[in-house]
Symmetry: C2
Subunit: 153 residues, 2 copies
DNA sequence: CAAGATTGAGTCGTCAATCTTT
DNA sequence: AAAGATTGACGACTCAATCTTG
């Protein structure tokens, strides 16, 4: 079903993903003591209007299942980086906000993350590759989306 | 540190990875009841000369940490898909082999995995993209490798 | 009933510590 | 001491079940 060259490309791609994740994670831990999953939520919050988001908004924004978000917010709350507050306009919901410590952490983390991304990834991209990566990603997502794959409701 | 276009490309790429993994995982579970991590080890074994590999060989072959391999082999042993055998020539090591059930499973799994890869990924690649993906991956791995990132000893 | 959110169980992945053999 | 491998603890992710409110 696959040619040898395709399989080689896949193995190379898989290995790259794994190493890149490890490198990003390692930079983030070293510079600001947060994991990549923690960072994704903290960053979404720091980027949000009013600095607050509901669980479902976070889930949609970073493309996670909502139970994953819920678990991760629980861990972040334990670490005193975010807080949950009841939502007045919809009693089913919660607002999640950064604590002062969380705001401070996310600033450092953004620097570390983008620096690592620059050095390990974007600096080695050649002319036009950033664009074609974006296109390719869109095509793959479309191919999956039109097929029968379970998405979080 | 990053341009808007770079950040967009990154987000798009991240989302694609997540969805592709979910789709591959889902096909694999549906057709042969194995997870992606399980599959990686089963496949390495089925592809090995003599059908057996040592923990360190598996780790090197699929680019995992050896403790991860050890844990996963333990789980696979519980599921009766592989077995461990003492290594005669080096008393520190173990040979891991497929059971008959494991051999049968991996055949189905290979079909499911490659089929999904073909439909969701390679079918949407345009001329030359497979090649440039391979190149890009190599460059990224090199960029990380030359920097101070912890690799499994 | 739909939607928002949580929870618990089970698998998975990493790290540091450990043990044995080379 | 270095290499091969295991273990336990903890964080992370998914799935199904559940609970509450709209």
């Amino acid at each position: 079903v696959l040619t040898g060259a395709e399989w080689d490309a896949w193995r190379s791609f898989s290995s790259m993903r794994r190493r890149l994740d490890r490198a990003l994670e390692s930079e983030l831990q070293h510079d600001s003591a947060v994991s990549l999953p923690e960072f994704e939520i903290l960053f979404a919050l720091s980027d949000a209007p009013g600095g607050q988001l509901r669980i479902k908004d976070i889930a949609q924004h970073i493309d996670w299942e909502k139970s994953r978000v819920s678990h991760q917010v629980t861990r972040l709350e334990k670490r005193r980086l975010v807080t949950r507050r009841l939502c007045e306009t919809d009693a089913r919901g919660w607002w999640v906000t950064l604590t002062p410590a969380g705001s401070h952490t996310v600033l450092e983390a953004v620097r570390a993350h983008r620096g690592a991304l620059r050095r390990y990834f974007f600096d080695v991209l050649e002319e036009g590759e950033e664009r074609s990566l974006n296109d390719l990603s869109t095509r793959v997502v479309d191919a999956i989306g039109t097929s029968a794959v379970r998405q979080d409701a």
